[in-house]
């Protein structure tokens, strides 16, 4: 009988160890979140909320790129549109355009714009010096705001790209992540 008891306590010991292992791995899953953010930060991937470095380049007047601007809202009671829908630019030229946004609701709302590019490959050549998408935007009830985007197209842009579409989507920031008043975004 004592052998059986010894076996039982051995089993129990191993059970406890393996359960601790399982719980630790549950924690590890959550640990992957800061780990991922750190890797993105270190390698500079996914820096949507940071201004790009200005590379001192010459304006390439031999090329003219058409840039189309698009605006979307995702479940937000806002009106959001670019003040000019198309511009033609030479790579290397500093361009400033503007978007206009208006809160149509009778209470303040915080939103975050997320850019995307078509074709996707042009994103890395689209260097934004200033953008409303770098921070959360809080609009008072009925407030209207004109927001600039300053950018330079990197002349290294592949030759087969003639048109770039820059599209912003505004998402509502609800809950504790909303920054009131406006401060930097909550990190990448």
């Amino acid at each position: 009988m004592s052998i059986e008891n010894a076996q039982r306590s051995e089993n129990r010991k191993l059970l406890v160890r393996l359960s601790i292992g399982a719980v630790a791995m549950f924690g590890f899953g959550f640990l992957l979140v800061p780990f991922y953010e750190k890797i993105c930060e270190v390698t500079g991937i996914n820096n949507l909320l940071k201004a790009d470095e200005v590379v001192n380049t010459q304006v390439d007047t031999s090329r003219l790129i058409t840039i189309e601007f698009d605006a979307n809202i995702h479940d937000l009671p806002w009106r959001f549109h670019p003040l000019q829908s198309v511009v033609k630019v030479h790579p290397g030229e500093l361009i400033t355009i503007a978007y206009e946004v208006e809160n149509t609701r009778d209470k303040p709302i915080t939103g975050q714009a997320v850019p995307s590019y078509g074709p996707a490959v042009s994103g890395q050549f689209f260097r934004k010096m200033d953008c409303f998408c770098f921070t959360q935007q809080t609009l008072e009830a009925g407030e209207r705001r004109t927001m600039p985007v300053a950018f330079v197209l990197d002349p290294a842009l592949p030759d087969d790209v003639h048109t770039i579409t820059l599209s912003y989507t505004f998402f509502e920031i609800a809950g504790k992540n909303a920054s009131l008043p406006v401060s930097g975004g909550s990190g990448t």
């Binding site: 191993l14 979140v33 975050q112």
Partner: protein
């Protein structure tokens, strides 16, 4: 190999009878049987979903189901087959066979074993029941990628809770298996003398303990993103949907091996029996299994080549993935070397095993092709990928499960399965499987995307062919029910050693295996 069999085996069973016997049972054989029945029922329900998908894809255009429902079907087919059919089926084999193979009287924690099983029907009801809630079942794909999974209706919440419950069940089952194998082996059975099925399950159990909690974490993050205002995966709140893919595939790739390693184990038991030679390269098989398990933790991002990874990352994951072909190749070559110059006979279990090697290796090769990053960017989310993982999951895991079922049915029921019907089942499955999934390679290469209810006209012929094959394959599985029912009812009496050259402690107990076995540990020489 010989074992001293105690002569006081008894077959009577104490405790409640009728339904309560099954609800309260702590006997590993009863629980194993329930696991196998449960997984077969889930296999049939997942199969009905698959056939509905194939019916819709029979012709271009929308005929049978709405696109929204189609998406629910592809999602639920994946979840049900992975978590409801394949995984519980292997746990059922582990429950039935592990104690018999290592000479233990039962699993280490018999009461917990009962719990791990009875959690499953609860999870299954939640999962399948989610079809009937407003908005229907989750349609985010079995990988549950955000942003879709964050936006779905309440079917998604049910799926999340079902995954939680099935995860807890798997972890409890895995802990039970590790403790049983490590602590309860008969005297004389060292780790390196264990049957290979025990080895593959030991390693699989460790994988389960390591990655099921990570999946639980990932779906918990989706749940809090949905309801508690967190932004793990919400770009607007500073999160990142790609993060989910990393966490999911950190679970997902080991999960792939969780579903195939026990299959390797089953095939490694069967081939030596019917080749009448010991397994070639036993030690290398053990090391190959272990290295596949270790490598499975560093290859996850090969599922994500299309997410825009830096080139160095793509190269790392590409080479690491290709490295897995080495231990897998060792296994395939060992099986072939075991058959080489053996006195082979082709009873049903052997047919399934040889069929397994043939089709699984095909799936392995297409896996290598998908591992090449520049090629994968072309093939990503096409039917080529669908063909690949069905070759390894259906022709791999499922064929091995059938092989194992035919191999051990005599031990479970006391009767030999009907060879003629069994072979019919094999040949129908083999032929229809290839008719279903082989054309999908061509569809994928031609660019047909997966998870789409409608498609361009040039894909019509291969899709029609695949649908015909799928219905043939689905109906062929009904043959298995006939075999099992006939085998339980009667048939040729099975001897204790049911197959001529079968090796292992499980063949030293009578067939059918009595309710209690090895109450006094056998001495293994």
């Amino acid at each position: 190999m010989a074992a001293v069999t105690p002569d006081h085996l008894h077959d009577h069973h104490h405790g409640p009878s009728g339904l309560m016997r099954w609800i309260t049972t702590t006997n590993h054989k009863d629980i194993g049987t329930m696991y196998l029945l449960f997984s077969f029922i889930m296999f049939l329900s997942g199969g009905v979903m698959a056939l509905t998908i194939r019916a819709e894809l029979f012709q271009p255009g929308l005929q049978v189901v709405e696109p929204e429902f189609f998406n629910q079907l592809t999602t639920m087919h994946g979840l049900v087959m992975v978590f409801g059919a394949i995984m519980p089926a292997f746990v059922g084999f582990a429950n039935w066979m592990l104690p018999l193979m290592i000479g233990a009287s039962d699993m280490a924690f018999a009461r917990m074993n009962n719990w791990s099983f009875w959690l499953l029907p609860v999870a299954a009801v939640m999962l399948i029941g989610s079809f009937f809630v407003p908005g229907g079942a989750t349609a985010a794909g079995w990988t549950l990628y955000p942003p879709l999974s964050v936006q779905m209706g309440m079917g998604m919440d049910l799926a999340i809770f079902a995954v939680h419950i099935m995860g807890i069940s798997s972890i409890m089952g895995a802990i039970n298996i590790v403790v049983t194998i490590l602590n309860m082996r008969a005297p004389g059975m060292t780790l390196m003398k264990m049957p290979l099925f025990c080895w593959t399950w030991l390693i699989t159990a460790y994988l389960l303990i390591a990655v099921m909690p990570v999946l639980a974490g990932a779906v918990t993050m989706i749940l809090t993103d949905r309801h508690f205002g967190t932004s793990f995966f919400n770009a607007a709140g500073g999160g990142d949907p790609v993060l989910f893919q990393h966490i999911f595939w950190f679970f997902g790739h080991p999960e792939v091996y969780i579903m195939i390693l026990p299959a390797f184990g089953i095939v490694s038991q069967i081939i030596p029996t019917f080749a009448r030679k010991p397994l070639f390269g036993y030690a290398s098989m053990v090391y190959a299994t272990a290295s596949i398990a270790v490598l499975s933790f560093v290859v996850w991002a090969h599922h994500m080549f299309a997410t825009g990874m830096p080139a160095q990352g793509q190269l790392f994951f590409m080479y690491a993935t290709m490295l897995i072909a080495v231990p897998t190749g060792v296994k395939v070559f060992n099986w072939i070397a075991t058959m080489w110059r053996g006195s082979m006979t082709f009873e049903t279990p052997m047919l399934w095993s040889v069929g397994f090697i043939f089709v699984f290796t095909l799936g392995g090769f297409t896996g290598l092709i998908c591992a090449i990053a520049p090629v994968d960017i072309q093939l990503h989310d096409t039917y080529y990928v669908v063909a690949h993982f069905h070759y390894v999951l259906v022709a791999g895991s499922l064929f091995a499960l059938f092989a194992g079922a035919y191999y051990w049915l005599p031990k479970w029921t006391g009767h030999m399965p009907n060879e003629t019907i069994g072979k019919l089942h094999f040949w129908c499955s083999m032929v229809f499987f290839n008719i279903t999934f082989f054309p999908m390679h061509f569809l994928g290469l031609a660019g047909m995307p997966r998870r789409i209810p409608d498609y361009a006209l040039q894909f019509a012929d291969f899709n029609a062919l695949a649908t015909v094959g799928a219905f043939g394959f689905g109906l062929s599985q009904l043959i298995f029910i006939v075999v099992v029912v006939k085998c339980v009812r009667g048939g040729e009496k099975a001897a204790a050693r049911s197959w001529e050259d079968a090796d292992g402690l499980e063949w030293t107990v009578p067939s059918p295996a009595p309710h209690h076995t090895f109450e006094v540990a056998p001495v293994f020489k």
